[in-house]
C-alpha cells in the first residue's frame, strides 16, 4: 500500500512538472514528426510506387504499426538505463540507497512519470491526425483489437522497463554500458518494426521477433495486422513470460549490486 502511494506521488508530481512546461511537449511533438512523420511520408511514396500493397499489407496498416512504435518511444522508458548509469558514475546511488524506498522501483516510477504526459498527449494527437490522414484499417475496429491494445501497451511498458533496467544495472559491474545499450536498443528498433514493418520481415527475423524479448517489448505494432486475431493470446502470453523472467533477473542483479556498493557517507 505504501509502495503504491509513493509510486503515485512520484508519477503525479513529475506529470504535473511536465505539464508546467508546454515547450517540452512541443519539442517531443517536433521529435515525433522528425522520426515518424518523415518516415510515413516516404513510405507513402514507396507504397504508391508499388501499387499500394507490399508484402500483403496496405500503407495504412504499415503507418499505424510504425506509429505505435514511435508513439511508444516518446515514453522514453529506455532512458532508465542512462539514469541508473549516471547514478552509479556520479555516486548519487549511495544517497538513493539510503532513502526509505527501493532504488530500482524509485527509478521505474521516475521514468514513467517523466514520459507519461508526453506519451499520452502525443499519442492522442497522433491518433487523431492519423485517422484523418490515412484512416483506420478494418483490423483496428475489431473487438479483439479494442480489448487487447491497452494490455499489450502495458505489457510493453513493463517489459521495456525490465530490459533497460538490466542494462542500467550492468553499470555496477561494467565501466561503460553505452555500447551494450546501443546494441540492445538497435535490436528493439529492428525487431520492433520501426523502419521496416513486421510484415516485410524475412522469416528468420519474424521468428526472432516473436521469440525474443526485444521483439516482445514492441508487440503493440502487431496489433494492426490480420494475424493478430489468431496470435494475440500467444503474443500477450510471451510478453508476460518475458516480463516475469526479466523482472526477476533485474531484481536479482539489483540485490547483488546492493551488496557490492559500500556507502561511505561524505
Amino acid at each position: 500500500m505504501r509502495e503504491i502511494r509513493i509510486a503515485s506521488k512520484i508519477i503525479s508530481t513529475l506529470t504535473r512538472d511536465r505539464m508546467q512546461y508546454p515547450g517540452r511537449l512541443l519539442v517531443d511533438a517536433f521529435a515525433m514528426i522528425a522520426r515518424c512523420g518523415i518516415l510515413l511520408l516516404l513510405y507513402s511514396r514507396v507504397f504508391q510506387l508499388n501499387g499500394g500493397t507490399i508484402g500483403g499489407i496496405t500503407f495504412n496498416v504499415a503507418a499505424w504499426s510504425m506509429f505505435f512504435y514511435f508513439s511508444f518511444s516518446v515514453f522514453r522508458l529506455r532512458d532508465i538505463s542512462k539514469a541508473i548509469m549516471q547514478d552509479v558514475r556520479s555516486g548519487n546511488v549511495e544517497t538513493l540507497f539510503n532513502k526509505p524506498i527501493s532504488y530500482l522501483l524509485y527509478r521505474v516510477w521516475w521514468q514513467i512519470g517523466m514520459g507519461l504526459f508526453s506519451f499520452v498527449a502525443i499519442t492522442i494527437v497522433g491518433v487523431v491526425v492519423l485517422v484523418l490522414i490515412v484512416g483506420l484499417p478494418t483490423t483496428m475496429t475489431t473487438t479483439i483489437f479494442i480489448l487487447t491494445i491497452i494490455p499489450v501497451f502495458l505489457g510493453a511498458t513493463m517489459l521495456s522497463l525490465a530490459i533497460y533496467s538490466i542494462i542500467g544495472l550492468l553499470a555496477f559491474w561494467i565501466e561503460e554500458i553505452t555500447p551494450i545499450f546501443w546494441i540492445v536498443d538497435k535490436a528493439v528498433m529492428m525487431l520492433g518494426g520501426s523502419f521496416l514493418p513486421f510484415a516485410l520481415f524475412p522469416d528468420f527475423m519474424k521468428k526472432l521477433t516473436v521469440y525474443s524479448p526485444f521483439g516482445a517489448s514492441q508487440f503493440m505494432t502487431h496489433a494492426v495486422y490480420d494475424s493478430w486475431a489468431e496470435q494475440w493470446v500467444f503474443m500477450l502470453g510471451a510478453q508476460a513470460v518475458w516480463t516475469i523472467a526479466l523482472s526477476l533477473l533485474a531484481w536479482t542483479m539489483f540485490m547483488k549490486a546492493r551488496q557490492k556498493v559500500s556507502v561511505n557517507g561524505g
Binding site: Y21, A31, I38, L42, I54, P179, W182, M189, F195, L196
Partner: protein
C-alpha cells in the same frame, strides 16, 4: 590561420590521448558503434528485398549510402564533436571560458570535446565503401571522386551542425530544440535514397540538406553525374559560409548564465 589550425590539431590530439587512457571504454565505444550501425544495413537491405528496386536504388547503393553517411558523420565529429556541446555550454554558462579564449571561438568550441564512438562510425563507413567499391569494381576515377565526395559531405555535416547548434543561442531549452532539429536532418539521410522524388527530393536537398551527405554522393558515384556534383559543390560552399556567419551573428545574442564554470 595556420596557427589556429595547429592549435585545433593539438587540441584534437590531446582529446584522443585523454580518451585512450580509458582503454576498455574507448575500444567498447569504437567496436559497439560499428556493430550498432550494421542494424541499418540489415533493415534497408531487407527493405529492398521486400519492395524491390525503387528508382534504380539497389541493396548495394544502400550500403554505399550508409557508408557515406557514417563516414562523413564520423569524420565531422571525430574532428569537431564539441559543436554538439554548444547547447549545453549555453545553458550552463560554460561558453564564457571559450569567449575569453584568444583563439577562434568556433574552432575552440569544436575541438573542446571528443567522442570515441565517432571512430566506430568512421571505421564502419570505410568498410561499407570498400565493400561497395569491390563489388561494383569502381575505377580509379570513381575512387578519386569518392574521396572528394567524402570531404564535401563532411563539410556539409559540419555546416548543418553549426547552423543547428548555433540556434541554441536563441532558445531557453536549447538542448531539446536542437536535438529535434538535428533529427529532422539526420533521419532522412539514412533513409532509402530512391524514395525521395519530386517535392520531397527538392525539400531534403535544398531546404534540409539530408540528401547531400548520403544519397546524392551515391548517385554521383554510380552515374558519374557532373551536374549533380556541381550542385553538391555549390551547396557545400553555401553550407560552409552561411553557418559560420549565422554562428557569428548568434553569438552576439549570448548572455552568460554565469554558473561559475570557469575552467570546467
Amino acid at each position: 590561420m595556420f596557427k589556429e589550425l595547429r592549435f585545433a590539431l593539438y587540441a584534437i590530439k590531446k582529446n584522443i590521448q585523454n580518451n585512450v587512457e580509458l582503454r576498455t571504454s574507448f575500444l567498447m565505444n569504437v567496436g559497439g558503434m560499428a556493430v550498432n550501425n550494421i542494424a541499418f544495413i540489415i533493415l534497408w537491405v531487407y527493405f529492398v528485398k521486400s519492395v524491390g528496386v525503387i528508382n534504380g536504388w539497389t541493396a548495394l547503393d544502400i550500403i554505399a549510402l550508409q557508408g557515406f553517411t557514417a563516414l562523413s558523420y564520423g569524420l565531422a565529429y571525430f574532428l569537431f564533436a564539441g559543436i554538439r556541446k554548444l547547447p549545453d555550454y549555453v545553458a550552463t554558462g560554460g561558453l564564457d571560458r571559450f569567449i575569453l579564449s584568444p583563439k577562434n571561438l568556433l574552432l575552440r568550441i569544436g575541438t573542446s570535446w571528443f567522442v570515441p564512438s565517432t571512430l566506430g562510425d568512421t571505421l564502419f563507413g570505410v568498410i561499407c565503401l570498400v565493400i561497395y567499391g569491390i563489388i561494383t569494381s569502381v575505377t580509379l576515377y570513381q575512387i578519386a571522386l569518392m574521396v572528394l565526395l567524402i570531404i564535401l559531405s563532411t563539410i556539409i555535416f559540419l555546416g548543418v551542425s553549426t547552423a543547428i547548434y548555433a540556434m541554441s543561442l536563441f532558445f531557453t531549452d536549447p538542448e531539446s530544440v536542437t536535438n529535434s532539429l538535428y533529427e529532422i536532418f539526420l533521419t532522412p539521410a539514412i533513409f532509402h535514397g530512391g524514395a525521395f522524388q519530386g517535392a520531397t527530393r527538392f525539400f531534403f536537398t535544398f531546404i534540409i540538406p539530408s540528401l547531400l551527405v548520403g544519397a546524392l554522393p551515391v548517385e554521383i558515384i554510380r552515374d558519374i553525374s557532373m551536374s549533380k556534383l556541381s550542385i553538391l559543390v555549390a551547396l557545400a560552399i553555401v553550407w560552409l559560409i552561411i553557418p559560420v556567419a549565422m554562428f557569428n551573428k548568434a553569438i552576439k545574442k549570448y548572455e552568460s548564465s554565469n554558473f561559475m564554470t570557469f575552467g570546467s
